[in-house]
């Protein structure tokens, strides 16, 4: 069964540095998402992406964050000038088109900011 894959599984970065988290969604999916889960807290929606543009974003997704689909397979989340509070698990998900389709999640990238 096809899966969403995320790399790296764990990223350690110095505060103030930029980090790029990578995701390969399921190949025929057209909707892509990023979520964040700070340790001990709930899963939080960051952004959804369709047709090469952001379709929804949460209040968390400010100018520090950006997403890109640089080629036909990857979907990336860039975090600029990282802060300690950016430390979290970041999940990528993708879904079929056609309204309210279930999302398929990757295993996540654990981001640790030092």
């Amino acid at each position: 069964e096809p899966e969403v894959t995320q790399t790296p599984s764990h990223q350690v970065t110095q505060m103030g540095q930029e980090v790029i988290l990578r995701c390969v969604p399921i190949s025929n999916h057209l909707y892509f998402y990023w979520y964040r889960q700070i340790l001990g807290q709930k899963v939080e929606f960051l952004v959804s992406f369709y047709n090469n543009e952001i379709s929804e974003k949460s209040e968390i997704f400010d100018d520090q964050f950006s997403v890109e689909r640089p080629d036909g397979s990857n979907f990336t989340l860039k975090i600029r000038s990282t802060k300690l509070e950016d430390s979290a698990m970041y999940f990528c998900a993708s879904s079929d088109p056609g309204g309210y389709q279930p999302q398929h999640f990757g295993d996540g990238t654990r981001l640790s900011i030092l």
Binding site: K42, V43, F45, S55, E56, S58, F91, A93, Y100, H104
Partner: protein, 107 residues
């Protein structure tokens, strides 16, 4: 504002007992309702969705639009049901998760 409430952070039952995980939501429009599950060391995965009206692994969920609730139920819990459960209303391309309920089924 979109809001999802799962009032129980932790829920513990014995094997064979009934279990109900509560979810209340406050959402604009008519969201589609999902339950996702995360077993130990596994990724988040879909458990069931309201529109399918399916029973998955013995779980069902009833949508009560008047109470805006979508509680998850299983008549006889099994040890392998121990996991983290998230209620997730989905509206357009915006899906919000509840805080989650950690279910532990004891032998």
């Amino acid at each position: 504002a979109q809001r999802v409430t799962q009032p129980e952070k932790l829920l513990s039952v014995f094997k064979g007992a009934p279990v109900e995980l509560k979810c209340n939501y406050s959402y604009s429009g008519s969201p589609e309702l999902f339950w996702y599950v995360q077993y130990s060391r596994q990724r988040l995965q879909l458990l069931l969705r309201h529109i399918s009206r399916e029973s998955i692994k013995g779980f069902t969920a009833d949508l009560n639009k008047g109470e805006t609730s979508f509680h998850l139920k299983k008549p006889f819990a099994q040890e392998e049901d121990s996991a983290m459960y998230y209620c997730a209303p989905h509206n357009n391309n915006d899906m919000r998760f509840g805080a989650g309920t950690r279910l532990t089924v004891k032998p």
